[in-house]
């Protein structure tokens, strides 16, 4: 269906047109694509598809070789030469599309229109435009794969299956719409909106609307035969590509080949530059750039650290400094890489990356039950943990409905856990919850019930009988976006025994609710989740937090107003009982907070400090000295150095069971060595996007941590079969390598039957 021509041309064409080409072939280029995505598969090799190859070069010299397209023997092309030719010398209208598509005909320094043109600065710039804009950019990533709607798109370039350039853009597979955009669309080279519309474009974050089009100023100091494409009118919407002048066909044919050579060389140099430019576009805004002046932190006088005590790393007495000394000594003797002494085991060379995970009978029967959910008549004898698993499966399959819910609420249930109530309407709520016997109900979880005006519903429901939720211990109304303070207050009036409240992502909740909570529950509350409740101003809730004396689990992730002062005051009140803290994305936090945590929270088990870029190694030191029994540590995009991390693990990493080291750019051999040495209880390790960890390092870790069940290596292209086939850990499941299933292992580490996470039910 697509013409052969089309496929090739289309590619070029698209490429020419505001396409983002991700050339890569080597790590550096891919480093530019530093995204936290599920899958990144970069593949550009020689003899690849023209587009890929051309992409590789980073310039847009797609060359169409209409005549020589024979199916896709593109693969055999060693260099892109073949494709670099624009034998489409017949620069008549008929071929305009092709030319246009090219955008850049290497041999003709093409200056296309704004979309695809050459900019003054002579750098190859790759534009990515969102589909919101008129100009669409197609990202040439995969060919084949799925467009954003999840439909499989035919690959315009069949070869691409072997060599696809994955942008690792999450689950999107950017379809390279080579075939889609109709190349030969009449004689015009107009990228109509429709064509653009067909492109599968990704998120708007990609709308890096580059002003300067691709530069193809490959000025080969044109002799007259060179086609020079001036940049006439930057016709934004139009996208017409105009050729200023071009030589007649007969002449250019030979010259093309000659110029190719030059072009190739020139391209290489442009490549680097282009990639650098591209990389900038993908850079995240580093929040540190927006630092305000640090106001003198007056509270610090009472805080555990005063300014005078802020030491240099490793100067305080403590296990961390000793560990750091040891680490430094270690690396002074020999390079870190040499520390890792691991050889892949050669016997298992044929082992595939994924050993089949046999589904358990429990899973199979739950799935079967979920499929036949309509026929269930009773869940009477089914224990709570199975009910929960069943409802989870149903919610995931979007099959949860009021019938099942009525089965759940029948009788005198002790737990009602539904993790996805988006389907629940107000009438259904009335029928089920409002009418159920909640005398013994201990757990109520109605997450994501955004459709309900809970304020009214609860008021009405509770008006019916006053002690309705007298045994309720755990309440979760995550994502109840229409729940406001008044609703919470009503609810809390009839739940005297509640110990755990989850109001995550309830956007209407303000600090009034927290204050009310503190007044009514105060020292009884054990778990509080207020992550992403953006209306809460943390500082205003401080007086309330002083009353939560026995808080064990606190999650304030995503609340920007959380500052060092807040943390210091909160942990000074409840630090002795604090077991889990989630501070992800509270960007204002600095090492002072870690210092406060270290001094007050000796029993801390779980800490999440993702995305806190202001933390430094000093913070790590405080943490290591203070919290010796951390089991779950989540770091993401932090700035800790390899040595500090290694020292932390040496001194306090013994109890680690889950470690997330996502996107920690500086982590390498030292950390790996320490992990292998100390963290023998590790169950789950995530080193996605840590590109400096080598095969050997990972092999050492995996072989030493014999209880390791789950290893995630998304984005780690440096991990190859050397590791996969060479490690000798029979139990570990590796996720994140090319084309391995990623959903099978979700329940691997799930714990069941846990009510309050750290204390018994009263």
């Amino acid at each position: 269906m697509k013409r052969v021509n089309e496929s090739v041309e289309g590619g070029s064409e698209n490429l020419g047109l505001k396409k983002v080409k991700f050339s890569n072939g080597n790590d550096e280029s891919c480093a530019a694509l530093d995204r936290n995505e599920a899958e990144e598969r970069v593949l550009v090799e020689d003899g690849g598809i023209d587009s890929a190859q051309v992409d590789k070069i980073g310039d847009l010299s797609e060359i169409l070789v209409p005549e020589s397209i024979d199916g896709l023997s593109v693969g055999c092309v060693k260099e892109s030469n073949k494709w670099d030719l624009d034998l489409n010398v017949d620069l008549s209208l008929g071929n305009e599309e092709e030319e246009k598509g090219l955008g850049f005909d290497l041999n003709f320094p093409v200056c296309t229109t704004k979309d695809v043109g050459i900019s003054e600065n002579k750098s190859v710039i790759i534009d990515i435009l969102s589909d919101d804009s008129d100009e669409e950019v197609e990202i040439i990533g995969y060919s084949g794969g799925y467009n954003e709607k999840g439909k499989q798109i035919e690959s315009g370039l069949p070869h691409n299956s072997a060599e696809t350039l994955s942008l690792g853009l999450g689950t999107y597979r950017i379809d390279d719409v080579f075939g889609e955009s109709s190349v030969v669309n009449g004689g015009e080279r107009r990228y109509t909106r429709e064509e653009k519309g067909k492109a599968s474009v990704v998120d708007s974050w990609l709308s890096l609307k580059a002003k300067s089009p691709v530069d193809l100023d490959l000025q080969f100091h044109s002799s007259d035969e060179l086609i020079r494409i001036n940049e006439p009118n930057e016709d934004v919407d139009d996208g017409t590509w105009q050729l200023a002048e071009w030589a007649p066909r007969s002449e250019s044919a030979e010259r093309l080949f000659r110029q190719e050579e030059r072009a190739l060389r020139f391209r290489e140099s442009l490549n680097r530059q282009a990639l650098r430019e591209t990389a900038k576009r993908f850079a995240r805004v580093k929040n540190s750039d927006q630092n305000k002046v640090n106001e003198p932190l007056s509270f610090l006088r009472q805080a555990p650290l005063s300014r005078s005590e802020v030491q240099e790393l490793g100067n305080t007495q403590g296990p961390f400094s000793e560990a750091l000394k040891m680490v430094r000594e270690r690396t002074s003797k020999r390079a870190a890489k040499q520390l890792i002494d691991w050889k892949p085991c050669l016997e298992n060379q044929n082992r595939s990356a994924t050993v089949p995970l046999v589904p358990s009978l429990l899973d199979l029967s739950i799935r079967a039950l979920a499929r036949n959910a309509e026929r269930m008549v009773s869940l009477e004898m089914v224990p709570d943990n199975l009910r929960e698993r069943l409802t989870n499966v149903l919610c995931d399959a979007s099959k949860m409905n009021v019938h099942v819910m009525s089965l759940l609420v029948k009788g005198c249930p002790t737990e009602i856990r539904i993790k996805n109530c988006t389907w629940l309407t107000e009438n259904q709520f009335q029928e089920t919850i409002a009418n159920c016997v909640t005398r013994d109900l201990q757990v109520l979880q109605l997450d994501l019930c955004g459709r309900l005006m809970l304020d009214f519903l609860l008021k009405n429901a509770l008006a019916q009988s006053s002690n309705r939720f007298s045994s309720l211990v755990i309440l979760s109304l995550r994502g109840a976006c229409r729940l406001s303070d008044t609703g919470i207050m009503h609810l809390l009036e009839s739940t005297p025994a509640v110990r755990s409240i989850n109001l995550g992502q309830c956007t209407l909740v303000t600090c009034d609710a927290i204050i009310f909570l503190a007044n009514s529950l105060g020292p009884n509350l054990r778990e509080l989740y207020i992550d992403e409740c953006l209306k809460i101003n943390a500082m205003l809730t401080l007086p309330a937090f002083k009353k939560f004396k026995n808080l064990e689990v606190l999650s304030v992730a995503g609340i920007r107003t959380v500052t060092d002062q807040f943390i210091c005051e909160v942990v000074s009140v409840c630090g002795h009982s604090m077991k889990e803290l989630d501070l992800a994305n509270c960007l204002e936090l600095t090492d002072y907070s870690l210092g406060a945590i270290g001094s007050n929270c000796a029993d801390l088990c779980s800490l999440n400090i993702s995305n806190l870029h202001k933390l430094t190694d000093l913070g790590m030191e405080y943490l290591a000295n203070g919290c010796k029994s951390i089991q779950k540590l989540k770091l993401c995009r932090n700035e800790f150095s390899d040595e500090a991390m290694a020292a932390f693990i040496e001194s306090s990493g013994e109890c680690l069971t889950e470690l997330l080291l996502n996107n920690m750019a500086k982590i390498e051999a030292n950390t790996a060595f320490s992990l292998a040495k100390r963290s023998r209880k590790l169950l789950s390790l995530d080193i996605s996007w840590c590109r400096r960890i080598s095969n050997e390092a990972l092999g050492l870790i995996v072989d030493s941590c014999s209880s390791l069940k789950l290893l995630k290596v998304f984005g780690c292209r440096q991990i190859t079969n050397v590791f996969v086939n060479g490690h000798s850990n029979p139990v570990v499941r590796i996720m994140g390598l090319n084309l391995t299933p990623i959903m099978d292992h979700l329940n691997l580490l799930a714990t069941e039957g846990v009510l309050l996470r750290h204390s018994p039910i009263p």
């Binding site: 089949p356 046999v358 589904p359 358990s360 009978l361 429990l362 199979l364 029967s365 739950i366 079967a368 039950l369 036949n372 026929r375 269930m376 004898m381 089914v382 224990p383 943990n385 199975l386 069943l390």
Partner: protein, 98 residues
């Protein structure tokens, strides 16, 4: 099948299913019973009784054991479960930790 390699599973109604030990070990519960250093009566006789599990369910469970071994060795087929059995099968599987 030699006697030493087999285990006998007895259902609520008294039906006896004789299966390979290897197959029975798919169930964590049975595995613990048979391999624990303690002195479960079951270890000695090689028999395990399940007074709460009915015959049809136990039969299905034994089928699952063999299917699981087959799956792990590469032959991936589908394990069909009759709708009537699902609920009880789920609970039995939960009990047997399989």
């Amino acid at each position: 099948m030699k006697k030493e390699d087999t285990v006998k599973l007895i259902s609520a109604e008294g039906f006896e299913f004789v299966i390979d030990k290897k197959a029975a070990m798919v169930s964590q519960t049975i595995r613990n019973m048979l391999t624990s250093p303690g002195s479960f009566a079951e270890t000695e006789h090689g028999e395990v009784t399940f007074p709460e599990i009915s015959t049809t369910i136990l039969e299905k469970i034994c089928q699952y054991f063999y299917w699981s071994l087959q799956y792990a060795s590469g032959k991936e087929t589908e394990f069909h479960i009759e709708p009537e059995l699902t609920l009880e099968l789920m609970m039995a599987a939960n009990y047997l930790h399989t």
